[in-house]
């Protein structure tokens, strides 16, 4: 995984609550056996009409947001299915930061495994960011978002921060605890399935 760098970009405002993973990447696109190439399916049913023409009223189809790397959305973002394809689609499309008042748990956790930074901020602040037209800078190292109208600090779990900044592979981290896993297995009472 690449290490997370400072991101400077305008924000893409997606002013909807309860954006579920079925909307982020509809099920007909879950059949790939690799992680790449999901960006073109991102928000497919909102982005395209039945003839697969771009819908002009959907924010991603507005050319001014073409190179945006920061998505700002409403409450409970990423609810529903555990499909990691949702994060792969956001990342492949070009988003590196998702800001919302709250996130669904599994989606939130899936973000960190793919180098995407989810930031939960107070509703009032998110509402302001939805209106922000200038570029903002997300500085993970210092946990600061710099906006034309002032700085916003944000919280992040110290372990997750380290994982993102250093681009760590958490399986290798876990393998350092091999002895402890072995010890656990020796005393476990739950038998094998077979």
């Amino acid at each position: 995984m690449d290490s997370f760098k400072k991101i400077t970009s305008i924000v893409t405002p997606l002013d909807k609550v309860n954006v579920d993973t079925d909307q982020i990447v509809p099920k007909q696109f879950l059949k790939l056996v690799q992680k790449s190439g999901f960006g073109k399916f991102l928000f497919f049913n909102w982005r395209y009409d039945e003839q697969e023409n771009e819908k002009s009223d959907f924010v991603l189809n507005d050319t001014k947001y073409k190179n945006s790397q920061i998505l700002v959305a409403g409450d409970n973002f990423g609810c529903g299915s555990s499909r990691e394809h949702a994060v792969w689609a956001l990342l492949d499309y070009g988003f590196a930061v998702i800001i919302a008042p709250s996130f669904a748990d599994i989606f939130f956790s899936n973000c960190f495994k793919n180098g995407v930074l989810p930031i939960a901020l107070e509703q009032k602040i998110v509402e302001k960011l939805l209106q922000e037209t200038g570029a903002i800078e997300v500085d993970l190292e210092n946990q600061i978002i710099k906006t034309p109208s002032g700085d916003i600090s944000f919280e992040i779990d110290s372990y997750q921060k380290k994982v993102l900044l250093e681009g760590l592979d958490d399986i290798s981290i876990t393998f350092q605890y091999e002895d402890k896993i072995l010890d656990f297995e020796k005393q476990s009472k739950i038998p094998s399935v077979l």
Binding site: L30, K31, V33, G80
Partner: protein, 474 residues
């Protein structure tokens, strides 16, 4: 201070102790794998030259995109992406030494139906699967978590995963339903989600407790725990009792030392009387009605006797919720004030990991027996597993459904998420026993109403929703 059941299971599975603000490393006792969320995980193992640490704790099946039509025929398009995913799972299981219940196995079915049915799900264990409805297994007093593909890879490689400790949330279900055949477990869980909202359980593990839960059968408890994720919870669980132990006894994969395990579970697997929950909610069920969802998330639900609420009534002054409800009504093509019983339906789907077990089919068949579905309705039953299908056929349930003009299918996830050919066409309205009414979930432009199996069956007969409390279901 005492501990909750969740905390006891959590603590007994910590491999690396939690540091402040850091996740803990948790041992996983059972890993269920299916074709859609696993290919990239196996690919990751190959790229890094890693093997599966404990194939003996890992079980695979194919359920999400399998066809539910005649299995003796080949999948229509052998080069289709569904077919590629199915072949990929076969190869991955062979290469990594994992037991697979493939499309022709008598044990094939939806992972969350076969786990308990085969005695793979055990009380006090930790269970994961790359599917959010893994919460189903919590009905047996297991800590069962849905995970993403990166965690699938992590568990395959290490049999552990990093997890921040969720907070314990007590939901008490008190009272007795007057008509337990008409007002079901599905109506209880939909009522809970309607009250606490789709984000109400975020960051928590729910423990369902109280008389209203103790009264439920194991299959009904699975329906409750299954939809914990629809309230945003990380997991949902119910303390095991004699019903739990009886259900798992003498199954194909029940452990040999089962009785000694049961003895320890009887003592250990309960919440202490002085334990503290961080959040609490109580639902009284004496007078609850059958539920019907009207919107595009499971919190948008009302009584079958209600009319469709206006966005203002639904949102209680919250602007965002109000806009959400406006969008939902537009998508669902419903007008506020319309009586739920006046809503006509085109399709009926009885299936999914929420409601496709034997008991669900028995209850639905009582409504159907000797009747025909409405001429403008197309209806199907997709049993949750091949074993459920076989048991139902031994009881003659297939004949009841087929005589009523239902289609009787092979096991799989089917129209719950529409990854296989079973989908709604745009504008089709469906009474569905599944768990999600998201936009396009059952097919682009399809309109889903979540209901119980008896409500779905009654809607099939009448062509619109009816209050099943008026029917004789004994």
């Amino acid at each position: 201070m005492g501990k909750t059941l969740f905390e006891k299971i959590w603590e007994s599975h910590i491999v690396v102790v939690e540091k402040q603000n850091n996740p803990s490393l948790i041992y996983i006792d059972r890993h269920l794998v299916h074709e859609v969320t696993s290919p990239q995980a196996f690919e990751g193992l190959r790229m890094n030259n890693r093997k599966v640490r404990r194939p003996d704790l890992t079980i695979a099946t194919m359920d999400h995109n399998v066809p539910t039509t005649d299995r003796s025929l080949p999948i229509l398009d052998q080069t289709s992406s569904s077919s590629v995913q199915i072949k990929t799972l076969e190869k991955n299981c062979k290469d990594f030494g994992i037991k697979l219940f493939d499309i022709n196995s008598p044990n094939q079915g939806i992972v969350h139906v076969i786990g308990p049915q085969l005695g793979i799900t055990l009380p006090g264990s930790t269970i994961v699967c790359g599917d959010s409805h893994t919460s189903t297994h919590g009905a047996f007093g297991a800590l069962a978590l849905g995970i993403g593909t990166s965690d699938v890879e992590h568990v395959l490689a290490s049999q552990t995963m990093w997890l921040e400790k969720p907070k314990p949330f007590e939901i008490r279900v008190e009272g007795k339903r007057k008509n337990p055949h008409a007002v079901t477990a599905k109506d209880i869980i939909l009522s809970i989600i309607k009250n606490i909202g789709t984000g109400g359980g975020t960051g928590t593990v729910i423990e369902y407790r109280g008389e209203g839960i103790a009264d439920l059968s194991m299959e009904q408890r699975m329906t409750i725990c299954n939809m914990s994720i629809e309230a945003g919870a990380r997991a949902g669980l119910i303390a095991p009792d004699e019903k739990t132990f009886d259900y798992l006894r003498d199954r194909e994969y029940t452990p040999k030392n089962y009785e000694s395990l049961v003895d320890s579970w009887r003592d250990d697997l309960k919440t202490d009387s002085d334990a503290k929950f961080e959040k609490e909610f109580t639902l009284h069920i004496d007078d609850i009605a059958p539920q019907v969802s009207w919107g595009t998330n499971p919190g948008m639900t009302c009584n079958v006797t209600d009319s469709i609420p206006s966005p203002g009534e639904f949102s209680n002054g919250d602007e965002n919720q109000k806009r959400g409800a406006e969008k939902a009504l537009e998508y669902m093509a419903l007008e506020p004030g319309t009586l739920v019983e006046d809503i006509k339906i085109d399709r009926v789907f009885i299936g999914s990991c929420t409601n496709a077990r034997l008991e669900d089919l028995i209850e639905a068949s009582k409504v159907i027996r000797g009747q025909k579905i409405s001429s403008h309705v197309q209806a199907m039953v997709v049993p949750g597993s091949q074993m459920v299908k076989k048991q139902a056929e031994e009881m003659g349930l297939d004949k009841i459904f087929i005589d009523a003009n239902f289609e009787w299918r092979e096991a799989g996830c089917s129209m719950c998420l529409g990854m296989n050919p079973d989908i709604l066409s745009p504008g089709e309205r469906c009474a569905s026993t599944s768990n999600r009414n998201f936009e396009g979930r059952q097919g682009a432009g399809g309109q889903t109403h979540l209901v119980s199996p008896v409500m779905a069956a009654a809607a099939a007969i009448h062509g619109h929703f009816v209050d099943v409390r008026k029917m004789d279901l004994s």
